[in-house]
Symmetry: C2
Subunit: 607 residues, 2 copies
C-alpha cells in the first residue's frame, strides 16, 4: 500500500498545486518535476529508511567516551537524503536550490517521516540554514548555511535549558564579547558563550563534518546582569568545530561538550543531548567559553526564531501525521490478512464455518476508519497549511497577508491536532493487531512510542492552547479568526448545495458558531485566568472543528471525482468524522464557555 494516491489526490485534485507554476518563482516547475521529486523521495525512503526503522530503535546512539556512535544505516540514509538535494529544496537556483514550493517539499519529506521518523531527514538542518538565509550576513550564509544545504554540515536549534524548558524568558546562557575587536570578526560579532542547553536533537554525532548550533543566549547589561524576559535574548552561531572564512575546519574544536544523552521512550534513532557550552573542556585560544557569532541584532534572537516556527510546527504536525499513517497502513494490511472469529452480523454462531479475516468485523472497520479519518484528515490539514506558506511567500500582497494571518491561527492546530489524534490512531493500530500489536515483532508499538513525543516538543499542548486562545484568536482584533471563519463558511456554502453533504455542512456551521460563542464567553470577563484555564479543551474543540472543515472541503473534491473505491473511502472517512468525532466538541466547549475553574481553583493540598 502506498501513500502516493492519497498524496496525489490532495495535492492535485484538492489543492491544485500545479497552479503554483503561474508564480514566477515556480515557473520552471510542472506536474512532472513535482512528481520526480516525490518519486525520488519515495524511493529513498523505501530503500534507505523503512528497512532500518526497527534497527535504529534497538541500536540507540551511545557515547564511547569520545564520539557518539550511530548505526551505519543512519549514515547511509542521511547521505542519500543529502544527495537528493532536498536539504536546499526551497532555496534559490543560484545557491544550488530547486525553488520548490514548500507544499511539494513538505509532501516529499512526508515519505521519510512515514518510513523512519527517527532516522530523520533534514528538518533541523534545513530550518537552521533557512534562518541564516533570512537573518544571517553574506559570510554567515556562505560559510554556514550553504555547507548545511550541501549536507557537509548539519544544524541544531539550542533553545531549552534544564531550568527553563518552555520558559525561554528564563534562559541563562550568557554571551560576552570575545575580546577587543570582537565586533569585526568576518563571521559576525564574536562572543563567548557559557551555559547548558537541554533537549538538543542531533547535538552530537559523526554524521557530518561539523555541527552548526544556533543558540539562544543573553548578553548581560552594563552591570553584568541578564535582562529578564525574552527581550534580552540574542541568537548566535556556535559551530562544534571552528571554521575559517572559507568554511574550512581550522582543526580547532570549539568549547561545546556533550554532557549527556537523553534516553527516550521512542524516537530513539535521533540523538538527543544535553550540551555544555563554554565550560572549558575544549578551551579556545587557551580560554573557556564557546565561540559564537551573533546573528541579526542583539536582543532580537527570538524574532529570528519565530520566523521559522510555523514551518517547524507544521513539520512536527506532519511527522505525527505520518506516524499515524504508517500505523494505519500496517493495521489495514494486518486486518486484511488475519483470520479470526466470525462476524456478528451473520449471527457469529456457526462455529463450523471458516474464520473470516478481521477486516470483516464491524469494530475492526471502525478502528480502521477512525485511523483513516484522523490521518488522511491531518495530512490534508498539513498540506493546506504548507500551501499557505507558499501563498505567504509568493502570493500577492493581500493574499500573502491573509495567508500569514490564517497560519497564525491554524499553526497551533497543525501542530497539536495530529500529535493527539494520530497518536490515538497508533493506539488503534495496536488494538487492531491484538496481542501481536503489543510485541516488537510488529511495527505499530514503535510508531505509538515515537508519536508520543509530538505533543511535547515544539511547544506542548498546553502552550499551543494558550497560544491559540490567549493570542491567535485575539490578535489584530480577531481578524485571523474572522478570515478562517470566512474560509469555513465558503466551504459550507458549497457543501450545502450537494445533497450528500448538506447535513454535514449544516453541522459544521453549527460547530463554527459554537466555537465563536465559546471564544467570546471565555473572554467575557477579560481575565486571562478565567479564559485560559480551559485553553486545552478549547484547542481540542477548535481542532476538531477545523478538521471537520478540512474533511468537508476534501469531500467536495472527492464528490466531484469519478466513482472509485478511493472516492467511496474519502467520503466514508468524512462521514465518520462528522458522525463520530465532531459531536465531541460540545463537551470540550462547555467548560470553556462556563469559564470552569474546577481545576484552577483546587488548592494544592487537595490533590
Amino acid at each position: 500500500m502506498s501513500l502516493r494516491p492519497t498524496l496525489d489526490f490532495l495535492l492535485h485534485q484538492w489543492l491544485g498545486v500545479e497552479s503554483l507554476r503561474l508564480r514566477e518563482r515556480f515557473a520552471d516547475h510542472s506536474r512532472e518535476t513535482f512528481d520526480a521529486v516525490l518519486d525520488t523521495c519515495e524511493r529513498i525512503a523505501r530503500e534507505k529508511y523503512a528497512p532500518f526503522n526497527r534497527l535504529v530503535d534497538t541500536q540507540e546512539p551511545h557515547f564511547d567516551g569520545e564520539r557518539v556512535i550511530l548505526p551505519q544505516a543512519t549514515h547511509d540514509a542521511q547521505k542519500a537524503y543529502a544527495g537528493s538535494g532536498m536539504l536546499s529544496a526551497a532555496q534559490d537556483y543560484e545557491v544550488g536550490g530547486m525553488q520548490l514550493p514548500y507544499t511539494v517539499e513538505a509532501s516529499a519529506n512526508a515519505f521519510f517521516a512515514m518510513a523512519s521518523v527517527s532516522i530523520g531527514s533534514g528538518m533541523l538542518t534545513t530550518g537552521n540554514a533557512n534562518l541564516l538565509m533570512k537573518h544571517g550576513t553574506e559570510a554567515q550564509q556562505r560559510v554556514f548555511a550553504l555547507n548545511e544545504f550541501s549536507g557537509r554540515f548539519s544544524g541544531t536549534m539550542c533553545l531549552s535549558e534544564p531550568q527553563a524548558g518552555s520558559s525561554l524568558s528564563d534562559v541563562m546562557t550568557r554571551a560576552l564579547p570575545d575580546g577587543d575587536g570582537f565586533e569585526n570578526d568576518p563571521l559576525g560579532p564574536r562572543y563567548r558563550l557559557r551555559g547548558n542547553k537541554m533537549w538538543i536533537s542531533a547535538g552530537e554525532h559523526e554524521l557530518t563534518e561539523n555541527i552548526i548550533h544556533l543558540v539562544l543566549a543573553k548578553i548581560p547589561d552594563e552591570h553584568g546582569k541578564l535582562v529578564p524576559g525574552v527581550k534580552g535574548i540574542s541568537l548566535f552561531i556556535v559551530p562544534k568545530k571552528l571554521v575559517d572564512t572559507e568554511g574550512q575546519l581550522t582543526g580547532e574544536r570549539n568549547d561545546v561538550a556533550l554532557a549527556g544523552l537523553n534516553h527516550k521512550c521512542g524516537w530513539r534513532g535521533t540523538t538527543n543531548t544535553l550540551l555544555n557550552f563554554g565550560e572549558g573542556k575544549y578551551p579556545v585560544r587557551g580560554e573557556a567559553g564557546a565561540v559564537g557569532y551573533l546573528v541579526g541584532q542583539p536582543g532580537r534572537g527570538l524574532q529570528c526564531m519565530f520566523h521559522m516556527m510555523n514551518e517547524a510546527r507544521i513539520g512536527v504536525g506532519m511527522a505525527a501525521t505520518m506516524l499515524g499513517m504508517a500505523g494505519y497502513h500496517a493495521s489495514l494490511d494486518y486486518a486484511k490478512n488475519r483470520p479470526q472469529g466470525r462476524p456478528v452480523s451473520t449471527g457469529g454462531k456457526d462455529a463450523a464455518a471458516p474464520q473470516v479475516r478481521i477486516i470483516e468485523h464491524a469494530d475492526v472497520k471502525r478502528m480502521l476508519l477512525a485511523q483513516k479519518s484522523y490521518c488522511e484528515g491531518a495530512l490534508a490539514l498539513e498540506l493546506y497549511c504548507a500551501r499557505l506558506v507558499d501563498e505567504q511567500h509568493t502570493g500577492d500582497a493581500q493574499a500573502a497577508d491573509d495567508a500569514r494571518l490564517l497560519l497564525e491561527v491554524l499553526t497551533p492546530i497543525a501542530k497539536s491536532w495530529p500529535s493527539e489524534w494520530c497518536l490515538e490512531a497508533n493506539s488503534l493500530a495496536i488494538q487492531v493487531h491484538g496481542g501481536y500489536g503489543y510485541t516488537r515483532d510488529f511495527p505499530v508499538e514503535q510508531y505509538w512510542r515515537d508519536n508520543r513525543l509530538n505533543m511535547i516538543h515544539e511547544g506542548t499542548h498546553g502552550i499551543q492552547g494558550m497560544d491559540l486562545l490567549g493570542r491567535k484568536v485575539l490578535m489584530e482584533n480577531g481578524k485571523g479568526l474572522q478570515l478562517l471563519a470566512g474560509r469555513i463558511n465558503a466551504t459550507i456554502e458549497r457543501g450545502i448545495q450537494v445533497p450528500e453533504l448538506a447535513a454535514h455542512a449544516n453541522a459544521l456551521g453549527q460547530a463554527l458558531a459554537q466555537v465563536g460563542a465559546a471564544t467570546k464567553a471565555a473572554w467575557a470577563t477579560g481575565s486571562p485566568g478565567d479564559a485560559l484555564a480551559n485553553a486545552v479543551p478549547y484547542l481540542q474543540a477548535f481542532g476538531h472543528t477545523v478538521l471537520a472543515w478540512i474533511w468537508l472541503d476534501v469531500a467536495l473534491a472527492a464528490q466531484a471525482s469519478a466513482e472509485s473505491p478511493a472516492r467511496t473511502g474519502r467520503l466514508g472517512a468524512m462521514r465518520y468524522f462528522f458522525h463520530y468525532e465532531l459531536p465531541k466538541i460540545g463537551a470540550w466547549l462547555q467548560v470553556v464557555s462556563a469559564r470552569d475553574q474546577t481545576c484552577a481553583s483546587l488548592p494544592e493540598a487537595a490533590f
Copy 2:
C-alpha cells in the same frame, strides 16, 4: 505520597468493609486484621517491588537455551509475596488460607500492581488454584492447588492459540486418552495433548519448582474430529514436570516446550511465551504428547474458566488503575517541585519574578485533576466490584444473586474503563513532566507502556463492548441493567438532597436515561449487526455513566466527612468528572442510537 489514605477512605468510610465481620466466614476478622494485611503488602511492595520496576523493564526475560532467566529481584519479590500468605488469602483456614474478604485481598494486591505490575504478584497462580478448589478433585486440589498456594508451584492459563486469539471456539489443541485405564489415574482422567498455546504469561521460568498449566483443548469425537465451537472444549491440568500423587516431582519432564518468548512494548518483567504441547521434545514414557489430567467434565472446560473470569477481569482493571495511580503520584510529585514559568492568572508577564512550581499553572492542575478523577474513580469502581464478589459468595440468597447479576453488567466496565482512561492518565503524567517524562530517567513512560496491554488481554475492548451490549444488558430480560439502574437511582435520590450535589445528581439521572434510550434504540431492529456495530462507543458511554455514579456515591461519603484537604480533593475530582467527562457520552451514544453503519458498511476496497 501513599495510596493508603485513599484506600482506607474507600474501604471504610465509603464501602463499610468492616461490616463483613458480621458474616460467619469473616467473623475472626476486624479492622486490625485488615490493616495488618494492607500494612504487610504495602511494605513488601515498597521494599521488594518498587525499587526494581525499572530493572525488570530493562533486563527482560531471556532464554539461555535451557532455562528462562529472570532478574534476581523477581525471584526475591515473588518469594516475599508467597511468604506473605497472599496466594491463599481467600482460602479456608483448614487449607492454610486467611478467609480474607476478596475486597481486602484485591486492595492488598493493589500495592504490588502500583509498585511493579510486571514483576507480578500471584494473580495467575491464585486464579489457577482457586479454579481447582472449585472444580478439581480432592487429589487435584491437594497435589496441585495447595502447592500453588504455598508458592512451591506456580500456575498459568493456556487459552489462546496462534490461529485463534480471542476466538476460543477455534482452539485446535487435541487431547486423546492416554492408553488403557486412562480414566483411572488418581490425578484425574489422563490424556495426551498436542497443540500450541500463545500469550502464556509465566509459561516458562525457574521461579518455582514446577509450573501448573491449565489448558483448554478439545477431545476428538468418535470420528477423530474436533467438535466445532466452544462446546467441545475441555480443561486439563498439564504440569511442566510430572508429579506423583503426593505432589513430589518424579524427575520426569512433561512434553511441554518453550517455542518462543514474546518481546513486548511494556510489562517486560513478566515472561510471555508461546508453548508447544506434545511436539515430542520431551517424550513421556517414550511417547510424544503432553500428559494432562481432565478437570471437571469433558466439554465443560469453558464453564470452569468462566467462573474465574470476573475476578480476572477485575484484576486487570485494578492493574490498569494502579498503573494510572502510580503515574498520578509521580506527576503530582514532579509538579510540586519543578519550577517553570509564571502563572497566566497574574499576567504571566513579570519576567523578573521568580518562576513558580508548575502545579501553580491551571493547565497542569487540569492534567493532575483529570488523573485523580480517572484513577481514584477507577479504584472505587474496582473495590465496589470486589465487594460484590464478596456479596455473591457470602451474602444471603437474594443479595448474592443481585450481586451476581450486577457483576455480569459491571465487569466489562471494570475491565475496560481503567484500561482506557488510566492509560490516558499515564499519558497526562508524561505531559506534566514535559520532555523529562519522555525519557527513561523518569518512571512515567514505563507506566504508559505497561498500561497499554490492559485494553488487549483478558478480552479486548471490542470483546467487552460486545459482551456488554450483546449479552449483559439483555440477559435475564434486562434484569442486570435494571438492578444497576436501581442502584444508580438510589444514589441520585440521596444526591438530590445535598445542595452541593443536586445538580450532579440530576446530570447523572439524565445520563442514565440517555444510556437506557440508546440501549433500546440500538436493539430496535433486533439485528445484532445494527446494534453491535457501535458496541465500543456504547461501552465508553456506559463506562462514563457508571463512573459518574461511582463518583457521586463517593462524594456523598466525602460530603459527610469532616473538612479536610482530602475531602476537598474528592469533591473536586467528582466535580471534574461531572463537568469535563460526563458530557462526552452524548457523542458516543449518538452513533449507537442511530445504529450508525458508516464503518460497518464501508467496503474493504475503500479503506
